[in-house]
């Protein structure tokens, strides 16, 4: 199951064309005394020095994002860069110091407590780094818990819980307690629990960081498989760039609380906005990220022996292009030829030389 699952072709997933599910504008989270007043009393955003001088700590600074329906949106950054804080602002687990957050066009920050509880009960699910399972409940009860706080009838909630437990592949362990499960299994419970209410918006804060590398890869595949079925809007936090590339439709890179670049993995690799982003992407296997469309050049020959789709990754077409020994056509979704891909370009991408170009 591990390696066979791949993302669907880009053409089906032009995410930015879809409606915006969750968006935030100029969100700040400043820790410290009287942080709100500090932000209110100024016309221009404060600089890093001004914040530090005031004895405050800006964990999230001036972040604006649009997250589209059905997209896997990854927030990525080193430890302490403010990813969790941003996620907690987006889910309003903490109040942002400034800015606005729109869920389906409604201002989430204006919702009162009852409304917020309602939104969380029906629209949001969250998976936690350390699983956050309730130790006194069985797997089944844990998964059914979000439904039971909504007073869903017992038969119905148990049935639904069994469904999602089945979905994450834990059938047979319903009566176990969390302590009796391995880390990977516990996180499957966490995932099942967050899916029990069938949320539209799914928050995951480093869900696989506590797992060892092999299990982590397995869980990533599992997540992709689930997403192919469920098509949720996902906000996924990680500090592992490989994980980000593997899962993401789009990635936002954070540093010191600010988002310094947002884009598809390919955009980040081919056009890093800053030295910092370039540093992150240096060790990435480019062939897995760069698509034929980015590596192609304008067509020169009139006739091609074979063709590849523009959105395929170089890794997927390498054998075909290099084996043929001749340039191949690159075709758009409608079948028209938009350029050609030479074996040299493929080789260059494979050995990562293109970075120096």
């Amino acid at each position: 199951m591990t390696e066979t699952v791949t993302r669907m072709p880009v053409t089906e997933r032009l995410m930015t064309d879809r409606p915006v599910k969750l968006s935030c504008r100029n969100v700040w989270k400043v820790f410290g005394r009287e942080a709100e007043r500090f932000l209110q009393n100024r016309s221009t955003p404060p600089s890093a020095d001004q914040i530090a001088d005031a004895g405050l700590l800006a964990a999230v600074r001036d972040v604006s994002l649009d997250i589209h329906d059905g997209e896997i949106f990854i927030v990525m950054g080193l430890s302490g860069s403010g990813k969790s804080t941003l996620l907690r602002c987006l889910s309003r687990l903490i109040e942002p110091s400034a800015g606005s957050i729109l869920l389906d066009g409604d201002d989430l920050l204006k919702a009162d407590e009852t409304r917020l509880i309602d939104i969380r009960r029906h629209k949001m699910g969250m998976v936690f780094q350390n699983f956050a399972l309730l130790p006194h409940l069985t797997v089944l009860e844990n998964v059914a818990f979000p439904l039971s706080v909504q007073n869903v009838g017992k038969a119905e909630r148990l049935q639904r819980a069994m469904e999602v437990i089945d979905l994450v592949g834990l059938k047979g362990r319903e009566q176990s307690y969390p302590r009796q499960l391995s880390g990977g299994q516990q996180q499957r419970v966490g995932i099942a629990r967050s899916l029990a209410v069938n949320p539209e918006l799914w928050f995951l804060d480093e869900p696989f960081s506590a797992l060892d590398p092999l299990i982590r890869r397995e869980m990533q595949s599992e997540l992709l498989r689930l997403q192919n079925v469920l098509k949720k809007t996902m906000v996924f936090v990680t500090h592992d760039f490989d994980e980000a590339i593997r899962l993401a439709d789009r990635i936002a890179i954070m540093k010191d609380g600010a988002v310094i670049q947002t884009g598809t993995p390919e955009e980040l690799v081919t056009h890093p906005a800053t030295e910092y982003v370039a540093e992150f992407t240096r060790d990435v296997q480019r062939a897995k990220v760069v698509s034929a469309a980015s590596a192609m050049r304008p067509r020169s020959a009139g006739h091609f022996d074979s063709a590849v789709a523009a959105d395929l990754k170089i890794q997927a077409v390498a054998a075909q292009v290099i084996g043929g020994g001749k340039p191949v056509a690159v075709t758009a979704a409608d079948g028209s030829v938009i350029g050609e891909l030479t074996p040299d370009a493929v080789l260059a991408t494979l050995i990562g030389r293109e970075a120096q170009r």
Partner: protein, 673 residues
């Protein structure tokens, strides 16, 4: 400050030490001057009578007013407790009588045999064979030694007190968790006071408000036993992982669901530790509470002690111990039990059914065979006469030796210290405490000045309310006992810290010492040393030695292994390792142990009033027998203030040492003790 001290040039350091010596010498000179020239300032030597504030009388008047105007409230509370108590008493001790006159129907109480079986089953369910055996032995002991009737009276009141104390504690703990302000300004000071004011002191107002009887005793017990539950609840809720709290929000829990369905179940293990503590505190109160009308084992001990019937006192005392051990182990097993076993509910039902069946059969059987209802006298054992004879024998054969020890201690140790404290001018002692506060708290820090002023005010309180002499006797008795406890406890702790086997044995000893209700210590000592200060001192030493052992051995064991290894690698002998590395590093922890020892000594002090000491404890005891709330509260406060002063000074000392060692970061961890 600590950093400054370390970097200061050597000359400055020497000068600073000099200054402290000068200050102490100056104080000594003042003392000598005051004593040798008594006419110079007589008010500074003995606190003048006309300056005494009659706080006790005013409190008494206040209490009278409260009693007169709030009797509705007190009666409501009393009846709220009376009902469940009657039920428990009926079940366990007295049976029920329905109707009256000749045709009244009498339902029997539960059979002793049935209860022994039921508790054994409970032990097996909660903790397996070992706990079952302990429960079986303890309850059989109570039955066979003829203590059953009294023990069931005691158990009935415990069975009602514990749930009330737990629920109240839970409530206050939740409040403290939700409102940190309320916690710092209301709950924490209240708990500090409740833990330092001796339990005796609140017997008096309770007695006045609720009258003499079991209900009063229960109320006093509940007040006494609640604090650990409050602390455990607040702590347990604060320790729930943030992830889980976030999950509660994201699952869309309402506030109530969040508390009852997420927070409290997650915090359960720590909460159960609190419950265990409540049970132990309740048992600790058994004898004290019998002074205001609780019957049962406590009352038996009290009566026997008063008539110096050692054998009977010991038997009833041992029955309390048996009850304490059984309940302690059962509740600990319940606390340790996770919800791991999926078959648990089914198993619980099976056990409950069996226990119920046994109870019904034996109880009904009791109607036919009376020995099932209560063990007849000729089937019970008694060791009372044996104990009495043994004591008589010891007294006949060793009277001279014991008496010589007693006299020697009195003449060469106790009396001189007592005289010293009584003769020193009060103002000098108060000033000395202030100076100590400044020295330990740091003269350049605000806290240092706060500490000095607090220590002086709290200590002077005794003088102002006219209890100076009794307070000094308290300080002397408690101080000497604490010193002895440390002299015994710290070396034992060192041994335990360095040798695994010793540690295991000491662990058992300390556990047992802490399970025993404080009164029990008094019994054997009274037998040998009769009443007086020496008896009190020895009993206090036994009672208070446990924390000195426990903290020392923990402190030594937590010295990081890489440090001891480094020292060994440098060629330290074992002795050098102890004195140069382990002891200095464990010192802050040891100080915490000493601190606890002092507090325990103070709380035991009041109980030793029964054997005729002349300190503040006696004052409280007298107030109790005379039902004088003002006197009781004032003397209780004076004891509490001595305790708080000692506590703050020791904590400051520990902090100072820790900073000196650059371990200031460890402070937060240690503060949790």
């Amino acid at each position: 400050m600590a950093v400054l001290d370390q970097t200061a040039p050597a000359s400055a350091l020497r000068w600073r030490n000099w200054r402290w010596s000068l200050a102490w010498i100056a104080l000594l000179l003042v003392a000598i001057a005051l004593i040798s020239l008594p006419s110079l300032a007589p008010w500074a030597i003995d606190y003048p009578k006309q300056w005494i504030i009659p706080l006790a009388a005013e409190l008494k008047a206040l209490m009278k007013w409260v009693v007169k105007n709030f009797s509705i409230v007190t009666r409501a509370i009393a009846s709220m407790l009376q009902l469940p108590l009657d039920l428990a008493l009926g079940l366990l001790a007295k049976g029920f009588t329905i109707g009256n006159g000749a045709e009244a129907l009498h339902l029997p109480r539960l059979s002793w045999l049935g209860l022994v079986v039921a508790f054994t089953l409970l032990g097996r369910l909660l903790g397996g064979g070992r706990i079952a055996l302990i429960a079986c032995i303890c309850f059989s002991y109570i039955a066979l030694f003829g203590q059953w009737d009294s023990a069931m009276l005691t158990l009935a009141s415990i069975a009602i007190c514990v749930p009330f104390a737990v629920l109240l504690g839970l409530g206050f703990g939740i409040l403290a968790y939700h409102s940190p302000k309320f916690d710092t300004y209301a709950i924490r000071p209240m708990l500090d006071l409740m833990q330092t004011v001796p339990a005796f002191a609140y017997l008096v107002p309770v007695l006045l408000l609720f009258g003499f009887g079991p209900v009063s005793a229960m109320i006093a017990t509940i007040i006494f036993a609640m604090p650990p539950m409050v602390r455990a609840t607040a702590l347990a809720l604060r320790q729930v992982p943030e992830d889980i709290q976030d999950f509660a929000s994201m699952a869309g829990c309402t506030r109530r669901q969040r508390l009852w369905r997420v927070m409290i179940p997650t915090a359960r293990p720590l909460l159960m530790v609190g419950v265990n503590q409540v049970i132990m505190m309740t048992l600790n109160m058994v004898i004290i509470a019998s002074m205001i009308g609780a019957g049962g084992l406590g009352y038996d001990v009290l009566l026997a002690l008063r008539s110096l019937d050692i054998g009977r006192a010991l038997e009833a005392g041992l029955a309390i111990v048996a009850l304490a051990i059984a309940l302690d182990r059962l509740s600990q097993a319940a606390a340790d039990q996770g919800p791991l076993d999926p078959t648990a509910p089914a198993r619980r039902h099976r056990y409950a059914l069996v226990a119920l069946a046994v109870l019904i059969v034996t109880t009904l059987g009791g109607l036919v065979w009376p020995w099932l209802a209560s063990l007849p006298k000729d089937m019970t054992l008694t060791t009372g006469p044996i104990w009495s004879e043994m004591i008589a024998w010891i007294n006949v054969n060793f009277f001279d030796a014991i008496d010589a020890t007693r006299t020697w201690l009195l003449l060469h140790l106790l009396n001189p210290v007592k005289q010293f404290l009584l003769k020193t001018p009060w103002i000098v002692l108060v000033a000395a405490l202030g100076l100590l506060g400044l020295y330990l708290g740091g003269i350049r820090r605000k806290q240092g000045w706060h500490l000095a002023i607090l220590a002086m005010l709290l200590f002077a309180f005794s003088a102002v309310v006219g209890l100076w002499e009794k307070a000094m006797i308290t300080v002397y008795l408690c101080g000497i006992s604490a010193i002895f406890a440390c002299l015994i406890g710290i070396p034992l702790g060192v041994l335990g810290g360095r040798r695994a086997l010793a540690n295991r044995i000491l662990g058992i000893v300390v556990d047992t010492l802490q399970t025993l209700p404080s009164f029990v210590y008094l019994i054997p000592v009274v037998m040998l040393f009769r009443v007086g200060d020496v008896t009190a001192m020895i009993a206090i030493v036994f009672f208070a030695v446990a924390p000195a052992i426990r903290y020392t051995s923990h402190g030594i064991r937590q010295v990081p292994a890489h440090l001891t290894e480094a020292a060994t690698a440098m060629g330290c002998t074992r002795r050098q390792l102890l004195w140069r590395v382990q002891l200095p590093l464990a010192l802050p922890e040891i100080l915490l142990g000493i601190n606890q020892t002092i507090l325990l000594a103070l709380s035991m002090l009041v109980i030793t009033a029964l054997v005729g000491t002349r300190d503040l404890g006696q004052e409280v005891y007298i107030a109790l027998t005379k039902a004088d709330p003002g006197r009781g509260i004032v003397a209780g406060l004076a004891i509490a203030f001595i305790g708080i002063t000692a506590d703050r000074l020791m904590s400051a000392w520990a902090r100072r040492l820790r900073q000196g060692m650059g371990l200031a970061a460890a402070e937060t961890g240690a503060a949790n003790h």
